[in-house]
Amino acid sequence: MSGLLYLIDRKAVLCLIAACVTAGCADQTAYRAPVSTFQDASSVMVHSARIYLTQLNKVERDAYIRRQAANNQHIRLNEIEKKQYFSPEEIAVRLEALNGLSRYGELLGQLANSDAPEKITAGASDLAHSLQKLSSDVSQLTEKPANNKFVNSTGPVVQIVGEVARIAAEKKIQAALDRAILAGEGPIRDLIHAIRDDITIAYERKRNALSAQRVDYVDAYEDSVGASGNSNYDQRKRRADELIAYLDVWESFPLTNPYEGLNAMADAYSALVAYAKSPKAPTDLSSLADQVELFAARANRIGAAIQQLEQNY
């Protein structure tokens, strides 16, 4: 994770763009820096989103157990099972989709950076194959209405990536790149938004659980108040320190919200499309770079906050 954060070096990207514009590079070369930045920022966002999805059931499970303990109630395993928001299969399919988005970003990067069409073709075909499996797996989720948005948004993405792979197979790198970006905007945005909504819900459930724990920590401190003596002071001080540490976690938690990062990811895709449609003048490239940089900055901030939360809590 930390490696990913350092990959996105703003100065290096701007220098590359400036050098490219000055030298009058070909279209394919002009894409390189922003697509590379997009790819790196996507990896950070996907990693962050992955944490939310994989932690979601743990959040619900832990919250139930803490609630029962706080209220002096029995704990039942069947009740814990009922608290699971996503089944393991539903989580796995979303992680597959996230992986597909990440690899799609990688494909864009390869198209922009590589002079070896065979390598691109193999990578794109492999991705198309993976997404076909995703399409099949997603079709198993249709019984649950809450999955509808996610299910409906994956099909078009599978279709587009397959098409890009076919064009790339004909060694038409620039055409494949333009097709990937032009055809990909709407469906990719829809898929990002569907995943964003699922992750936003995961974020809210986690916020809910963390908020409840604030009260648990305050109650624990309150239980230590009133008694005299050094041993009770030690206990009170320990409870106070725990409360301080926990409130630090609570205060920094909003920084981990992936909502804006995923919106910025969708906007960056749109900027890639806008650039592909443009005459590709230096100002067009500059606009693209600005949008991608904004996405990278948000992705880095969220990634760092999640990393910090993982270390401290």
Partner: protein
């Protein structure tokens, strides 16, 4: 947070905001305080409703969805204004009951839509 066309994640966020406010209020009272016990109870109920909401699917373009979601937003804003005022406890609990009913109404519309 938009005033209109609230999405399901928006509504879950709105309910989450109320829950975090309830936590502040109940974390300011002793556990054996009657008001604290009532707040604890409302917290459990809203938490359960938020969880059920995560599993529901809505047609967000329908008039009933838009009407009820705007109502939920309005009630939630009212609760956030009164919950820390000890002189408005009665109104807060009445609004919490209204909020729970509105969420139930929304969930009923989801069941019909599916």
């Amino acid at each position: 947070m938009p005033e209109q066309n609230l999405s399901k994640p928006d509504l879950i966020h709105i309910i989450g905001d109320v829950i975090t406010k309830i936590d502040v209020a109940r974390g300011s009272l002793p556990r054996d305080n009657p008001q604290r016990k009532e707040l604890d109870s409302w917290r459990l109920r809203l938490d359960a409703k938020q969880q059920i909401l995560t599993d529901a699917a809505f047609d967000e373009g329908t008039a009933i969805y838009q009407s009820v979601s705007v109502n939920i937003d309005g009630i939630a804003k009212g609760i956030k204004k009164t919950i820390e005022d000890v002189n408005k406890t009665k109104q807060t609990f009445e609004d919490l009951a209204r909020l729970a009913s509105a969420v139930d109404e929304l969930l009923a519309s989801a069941a019909k839509a599916v």
